[in-house]
Subunit: 480 residues, 2 copies
């Protein structure tokens, strides 16, 4: 047990995760099967994620809209692969307003179909293209095994849906959005992600190609953290999304969709957390600096607060999110509490600091004496800003080093088995069939996470499984 | 027909509204009964409303959270009035994951019950109070007659839910949030609202008291634009929301809830719009300034754009939302189009303006020659900022004058009938029973909108209906 009474990661990562999610007040259990309540501390992380993405979407010309929660059942059936993929997971409204409905309504598991129908009405000519729409919404997928943030029956996400005149343009869009997800993950969430193409088996139901960003958690499992789909003309044909081109010929559009969900909150927890609790990247931390007044006697409180509060005001004035913990608890209790909640920087001021014009700063990413420094109150806002930047960079560097140390190149199936068994990611030449891929999964528990872009131009080599010639490198790992 | 081919308000306000909502691209029809698609232009108005409210909520110590979409049917039954009020409007999921559910799940019509259950677990002692939570969410009420934004089966809203130690505190909170709604309506939406208490009949199902902000639309109908409920201990008792007080005695909490929805988008349309279309208050307008380059010959385009674009950049740099309309259409077409969409200010630059260092500005709230001015490019950013402030203030002044001219004091039931028939609001002393109130509604179509605060201290007088002594003044109007 750690100081927080939390199961250590090394003992049982899954228990650690569940305990920390509830202990750090990110979520609470709900009375509804498979759903959690996202508590304010968790919701603020999500608001940070939303803010970071929404800005990037708007900068690249996308606009938000809102489509109905309910989808007529007949719509889902129009794209064959799509309905097959989602049917087992649907929640269905059969009664409304006190009456049995003539056509049941599905609670959206994703909105390709209802948006496809809308696009078919909104798009007439090439002048209406590209159409670049995003939606922030809740969706429902009836999952059997659920875990807070990672897999819940209802979750929050954004789903982008775009239509284009040519495949070249829709492919470009698919890549642009994947790049935006990666840029957000790296710069805001401090999570290094690997961009790549999904295999046939792991492709979105109805897509031509699915691209993914894959992240390594601290237990070395992979987490698919965002996906971008080149839908080809599948939905355009199913929903008759057509446009008149410049020569006045009727053409089917090319569409894309892309989504990132509250799963990203789980990624932040599992990519950075340690046995003391969360370690939140400053850009997403609801509280970036916790300010703790230190005093033993009541008469010390006044001078300490008089020194502390102007600094707090200055920090807030430059946009730093500060919380002052003035609870009637010991400093030790507070330190542990805020370490557990992953606040990046702790600011302490005691009677001696008041006298000397000093303050103590402790960083969450480096616990203990090494992470603590005594600084002058002079210029402390700049000192703290720099420290927040440093913590942000160091979390990314940590996660990158950890990931790179745990990806291993494999030349044979035996090597892959060893790597997977030891809990790493295996990377190797792959020319297997869909069935081969399923066999690898059945035998090792590892799935083909993606064909990583950073190895896309590697030429060709011998497939570690079929031993035939392969022209692509694949990443395998156990995954969430 | 107006220039836009829209039915004039005076001819048929309802047709005008429906046409303008779709023509101005605020919403689109959806394939799902009673639901609309909120298109980007309408959604941006909603984003403005969200932003204005969310800031005010956070400044007063509220935090956002997210609760499940589905509510077990048994929860709704726990508060007797509540379930009775909502039962006819519920949408119910009976099948999920391919199976019949043991207990049907209701799609939330509002979240008092599921949040009540959560609060009962989260609150233990007086130290946990007050608990101040807000949720941005979609809700579903199976309405028979629907209209875009005003009444739809699914709508977007925020619902605040708070718990307090005493009734004094919960009452204060109820009033604080009503004040925030009114402040937002007046300052951001430029809609003068009347704050008041709802009658028993119009009270929220399960509340002790419901307070409202009532706005007058351009057809003189009332629109309830936001409500704040003092729930007393009704939900605390139904869900056992209890706390240990400082004397270690177990007490029931006092709770509140308050909500404002996408209905406010409809309010903005109907409070300001005219026969030419929308008139959007600058604070909520997705586009505050539309910049239109004027030229006849192709060779004029270059110099015009070279003059226009630096001004556009300057405007954007100070945070003004500008759209440049460089479509291959006539200026007249563009003027009409943006007038219909309610853009507050139009900026025109033509070849002569380039020569003379001038520009033309037209304000949407005053059409024609009177609303147009020719200004120097020198200091134009400040000129436009001031003009936007002026438009914002003038829309509020217009709506206030219109409202005040259409509220009439009545001393007898005959007078009320005349006022209502002529399409105004009637204000008078009221001591009627619930049944009397229903009779007035049946006979005149008018409902008791509220007991307005600004007449709460008026003393007493003779009820216009019962002719008995009354100690409160009531407002009656036909309403949406």
């Amino acid at each position: 047990m750690s100081k927080q009474g939390v199961t250590p990661q090394s003992e049982n990562f899954s228990d650690w995760y569940n305990e920390i999610v509830y202990r750090a007040d990110l979520a609470a259990k709900s009375p509804v099967r498979g759903c959690v309540i996202i508590k304010p501390y968790g919701y603020e992380v999500w608001e940070g994620i939303k803010g970071g993405l929404d800005r990037r979407f708007k900068e690249t010309g996308h606009q938000n809209a809102y489509f109905p929660l309910f989808i007529p059942e007949s719509y889902l059936r129009r794209e064959a692969e799509h309905v097959e993929g989602f049917s087992p997971e649907l929640a269905v409204v059969t009664v409304a307003g006190g009456k049995e409905l003539e056509e049941p309504l599905v609670v959206r598991p994703t909105s390709e179909t209802v948006i496809g129908e809308a696009f078919s009405e909104w798009i007439q000519s090439y002048r209406d293209l590209p159409l670049l729409i995003n939606q922030w919404a809740n969706v429902v997928r009836w999952e059997l095994r659920t875990r807070p943030f990672l897999r819940t029956t209802e979750f929050l996400w954004q789903e982008g849906h775009t239509a284009h005149a040519t495949h070249e343009e829709s492919h470009e869009e698919t890549m642009r959005m994947l790049d935006i997800y990666a840029d957000f993950a790296v710069k805001d969430a401090a999570i290094p992600v690997i961009k790549g193409l999904k295999s046939n088996i792991e492709r979105f139901a109805g897509a031509l190609h699915t691209y993914t960003i894959e992240a390594m958690m601290r237990d070395k499992r992979a987490l698919q953290s965002g996906t971008s789909h080149d839908l080809g003309q599948n939905f355009a044909k199913a929903f008759e999304i057509k446009y008149l081109d410049e020569a006045n010929d009727l053409q089917f559009c090319w569409t894309t969709s892309w989504g990132l969900s509250t799963r990203m909150v789980g990624a932040v927890v599992m990519a950075h957390g340690d046995d003391q609790g969360l370690r939140l990247p400053p850009k997403l931390a609801p509280i970036q600096v916790v300010a703790i007044p230190i005093y033993r006697k009541d008469e010390e409180r006044g001078p300490v607060m008089e020194t502390l509060m102007p600094i707090v005001d200055e920090l807030r004035a430059v946009g730093i999110r500060v919380h002052v913990d003035d609870r009637d608890q010991s400093p030790g209790f507070k330190f542990n509490d805020w370490e557990m909640r992953g606040v990046p920087v702790r600011l302490e001021i005691g009677p001696k600091d008041v006298e000397k014009g000093n303050a103590a700063l402790a960083r969450r990413d480096v616990l203990g004496r090494e992470g603590k420094q005594f600084v002058s109150q002079e210029g402390i806002v700049k000192t703290i800003q720099d420290l927040l930047d440093e913590v942000q960079a160091s979390l990314l560097a940590d996660a990158t080093a950890f990931r790179d140390a745990n990806i291993h190149d494999v030349a044979t199936y035996d090597e892959l088995k060893q790597v997977i068994e030891a809990g790493g990611w295996a990377r190797g030449w792959w020319a297997g069939s869909d069935d081969d891929e399923r066999k690898v999964k059945d035998e090792t528990g590892a799935t083909l996470r993606c064909f990583p872009f950073d190895h896309a131009d590697a030429g060709s080599g011998k497939c570690f499984y079929t031993e035939g010639s392969a022209d692509q490198i694949a990443l395998f790992a156990k995954a969430y």
